[in-house]
Structures are given as structure tokens and as C-alpha cells.
């Protein structure tokens, strides 16, 4: 078993038009920037891009490669010029943008990977998020039915991996990468270092290899997306 591929082009080879693409990371931390660039270069179109931060899905929207984005942020928190472009794309029908409470988004992704079809969450009750969704009361509290969100492809970022696909994440970078690895037909991990099988502490593995299909080594990209005032 050897899940290591030799370069980024090979890592994203075969991603089809129309795929649902999950992108890991949070706020610039643990974002698979190399895989994002490789997928942009690969050429697949009509994608549905699922990510938290506009900085990951916006390039796909701007380059006409995504017909839909699903994210906690369909506007940009601190860059109004991006929000304006997205607003215009949505109003003109060139982009569908689904804003989802972030906890719901992650739980829908987890459910997809774990074989759960749907679940009831209290987030969004009494807000525009409840539109079109079943509402149901359990123990005197209202909940919304949310369904699993399956990915065709997941792009994730780790620190180290072995050829079995076991991934270790550094500090706060596990974030969404750990959640989504299980959810895609094809999960691709970019890591800073590939290490021999047996060198990772079995209790320290963040993403079990069973969830990972391809591993590629790529240099860490650092981008600061600092929001708000320092």
C-alpha cells in the first residue's frame, strides 16, 4: 500500500467536472494552498466548492470554475470589494452561494463520512436558515433537519504523513481537515513531510489512513488573512 504520489498534478488528476470539492483549513491555518492551485490548474469546471473562508472558494468562483459555493461566509468579513463581486455574481445568477451555520456545515460533512443520513440541530431556528427545512420539536425545543453533505473530492493539509495515509496535524491546523477526510470519495492530503511507516505515534495520528487516498509532499504556504483590528 503506497498512497504517496510524486507531484501536485498527479495528486489532483482525474477530478471530474461537476465534482463537490471540500477544502480544509480555517482562516489561513491548515489550508491546502498547493492543492487549491493544482486544482485550479487542472481545469475541472462546474464545481461545488465547500469551504469556510471566502479566500479558499473565491478563486474558483472568480475564475468561473464553481457554479456553487457552500460556506459559513458567502460574504467576506473584511474585504468589501470581494463581497461586492460575489453579491453581483449571485444576483446575476452566475453563482449559487449557500450560507450555512459553521457548526451545521461541519456536522453535515461528518455525517456524510460516517454514514449518518441526517440530523436535527438547534442552529438556525427562527432565522432565514430554516427556510425549506423540516422543523421538529424534541423535549420542548425546536430543531432543524439537516442532511449529510457528501464530497467527491476533499483537499486537506497535514504536517506529516506516512505512505498508509496516516496524517498528523500541527497545532491548530487539524480543524476542518480532520472532519472532512472521511467524507469524500477521493481525499487528497498535502503534507510538509512524508515519514516512514511506523514513525508516527499511533495515539498522535489525527487522520487515520483509511480516510486518505493520496498523499503529496508540498512546501507549506503561509498567507495571513488577519481579520479585524489587531
Amino acid at each position: 500500500m503506497d498512497k504517496v504520489v510524486s507531484n501536485l498534478a498527479e495528486a489532483v488528476a482525474g477530478v471530474r467536472d461537476g465534482s463537490v470539492v471540500l477544502i480544509g483549513g480555517f482562516g489561513g491555518s491548515g489550508v491546502p494552498y498547493n492543492l487549491i492551485e493544482a486544482l485550479l490548474a487542472q481545469g475541472a469546471r462546474g464545481l461545488t466548492v465547500v469551504s469556510n473562508d471566502p479566500m479558499e472558494w473565491f478563486p474558483f468562483a472568480e475564475q468561473g470554475r464553481a457554479g456553487k459555493v457552500i460556506s459559513g461566509f458567502t460574504s467576506h468579513p473584511v474585504r468589501p470589494e470581494i463581497t461586492q463581486v460575489v453579491e453581483e455574481m449571485v444576483r446575476s445568477g452566475r453563482l449559487e452561494a449557500e450560507a450555512v451555520p459553521h457548526g451545521t456545515l461541519e456536522e453535515r460533512i461528518r455525517a456524510g463520512g460516517m454514514g449518518i443520513a441526517a440530523f436535527y440541530t438547534p442552529a438556525g431556528v427562527g432565522t432565514p436558515v430554516e427556510r425549506g427545512k423540516e422543523k421538529r420539536t424534541f423535549n420542548d425545543r425546536e430543531y432543524l433537519l439537516e442532511t449529510a453533505l457528501k464530497g467527491d473530492v476533499a483537499l486537506i493539509k497535514g504536517y506529516q504523513a506516512d505512505r498508509f495515509g496516516n496524517v498528523v496535524c500541527r497545532l491548530a491546523t487539524g480543524n476542518r481537515n480532520i472532519v472532512m477526510a472521511c467524507d469524500a470519495e477521493l481525499t487528497i492530503a498535502e503534507v510538509e513531510e512524508i515519514v516512514p511507516v511506523g514513525s508516527l505515534d499511533p495515539n498522535r495520528v489525527d487522520i487515520p489512513g483509511i480516510f486518505v487516498d493520496r498523499v503529496v509532499q508540498a512546501p507549506k504556504v503561509v498567507r495571513w488573512l488577519v481579520r479585524g483590528e489587531m
Binding site: 480555517f26 482562516g27 489561513g28 491555518s29 491548515g30 469556510n52 459559513g72 461566509f73 458567502t74 460574504s75 467576506h76 468579513p77 463581497t83 460575489v86 453579491e87 449571485v90 444576483r91 452561494a97 450560507a99 450555512v100 451555520p101 459553521h102 457548526g103 451545521t104 461541519e106 456536522e107 460533512i109 461528518r110 440541530t121 438547534p122 442552529a123 438556525g124 431556528v125 427562527g126 432565522t127 432565514p128 436558515v129 500541527r170 497545532l171 491548530a172 491546523t173 487539524g174 480543524n175 476542518r176 480532520i178 472532519v179 489525527d206 503561509v222 498567507r223 495571513w224 488573512l225 488577519v226 481579520r227 479585524g228 489587531m230
Partner: protein
């Protein structure tokens, strides 16, 4: 009427609500500043949505920045002893499951019933929910920290929110540059005013009628 407290002093007043042993999430914007005013002799554990429990302050010295260690606003932070990490589904489970003692959020509007609107400006079709809907409903106590009025001087504390809601009936306390207000079943109770501000002045820029607390006082800062 003077302008009341600076953003930093609002954050300081909010920080006074945090006690030893509490787990607390600080939202985007003004709430983030609260982390600079924690009492140094108490264990207050700061939660960040991406799966971090126990960060300290925001790092100003760029040589210490590590993009693998940021808060949910994207700012570089350090860890306190006893910190730990988890994945984001678990992190939101902490929020949704009622494990946080306090959540501090910013707001566009708060209603007299404690409804919160903080994710979408009415004129847009796009918006930024992020973790706000879970943070609003999940924490045992939700404190809103915000400017008392909009840039144009309109009240942000209103009878009924005109903007899309984040959650209904969730806000317990509102701390602004002018006042400290509790949301109660009887209505909005004005507990404290900023130095040099009168109850009448607060009322003049607040939508609903305020109940003046019998022990109304000036904020201690």
C-alpha cells in the same frame, strides 16, 4: 453626551464578567479585544471555533507569529499552559452542546426580547454566518459587546430586529460604550452607565423603554 467608553474599555468591562474556571468564546471584532483584559491570577479558558481551548493573547511581535496557531479571527495567538486542540466538529459540539459558560459576540441589532442580528446586512443576498448561530444558542450566557448606535447614530438596541436574525431570545447581557444592560423577562434593565453618561442619555439612543435598576451605578473600570 460624550462618546462613552473606548472599544478597549468596553472589552475591559466585559472581561470583568469572566471568572476562574470559565470556558469562554470571544467573537469577531470588539469581543476579541477581551482577551487582553483577563485577570492574570485566574484560569479562564478561551475557546476558539477551529478547535482550540486555552489560547492567551494576540501576538503583536511578528517574529513570534505562527500561521498554524491563530484564533478564529485569523490573528496570531499564543497558548496558555493546559491548552489543547480538537477537530472542528468537536469544537462546535462544545458550543452547541452547552459546554461554554460565556459567549461574547458583536451585533448589528439586539431586540428587547434578546433576539440577535449579526450576520447579514439587510440589503445583501450574501452574508457571514460563521459560527455565530451556534455561539448564540449554545453558550450558557450570551453577552453582546458593541457600539450603542450605528455609525449614523441609529439605535442598535431595538423593539424588533429589522435585519435577518442570528437567533431568537438568546442575548442575556449587552455591554456598549454607554451602558451595561441585562435582558430579562420583564424587559431591558439598565444596570450601569459609562462614566459621565446619564440614564436619560442612554434611553435617548435606545429603541425600547429601559427599566432603570434600583442600584444603577457607574461602571467600575
Amino acid at each position: 453626551m460624550n462618546e462613552g467608553l473606548s472599544r478597549e474599555l468596553v472589552a475591559l468591562r466585559v472581561a470583568r464578567e469572566l471568572k476562574d474556571g470559565m470556558y469562554v468564546n470571544l467573537g469577531f471584532g470588539m469581543p476579541t479585544l477581551v482577551c487582553s483584559f483577563l485577570p492574570p491570577d485566574q484560569d479562564i479558558i478561551l475557546h476558539s471555533e477551529q478547535g482550540m481551548l486555552g489560547y492567551g493573547g494576540i501576538l503583536m511581535d511578528e517574529s513570534q507569529w505562527d500561521v498554524d496557531l491563530i484564533n478564529a479571527s485569523g490573528q496570531p495567538v499564543n497558548l496558555v499552559p493546559g491548552a489543547c486542540f480538537c477537530d472542528l466538529a468537536t469544537s462546535f459540539g462544545m458550543i452547541r452542546g452547552g459546554h461554554l459558560d460565556i459567549s461574547v459576540l458583536g451585533a448589528y441589532q439586539v431586540s428587547e426580547k434578546g433576539d440577535l442580528a449579526n450576520w447579514q446586512r439587510g440589503e445583501q443576498v450574501v452574508g457571514g454566518i460563521g459560527g455565530a448561530m451556534e455561539l448564540a444558542i449554545g453558550a450558557r450566557r450570551l453577552i453582546v459587546a458593541m457600539e450603542h448606535t450605528t455609525g449614523g447614530g441609529e439605535p442598535k438596541i431595538v423593539h424588533r430586529c429589522s435585519l435577518p436574525l442570528t437567533a431568537r431570545g438568546v442575548v442575556k447581557t449587552i455591554v456598549t460604550n454607554l451602558a451595561f444592560i441585562d435582558v430579562t423577562p420583564e424587559g431591558l434593565v439598565l444596570k450601569e452607565v459609562a462614566p459621565g453618561i446619564t440614564a436619560g442619555e442612554v434611553q435617548s439612543v435606545t429603541g425600547p423603554r429601559l427599566i432603570i435598576s434600583s442600584d444603577l451605578r457607574e461602571m467600575e473600570l
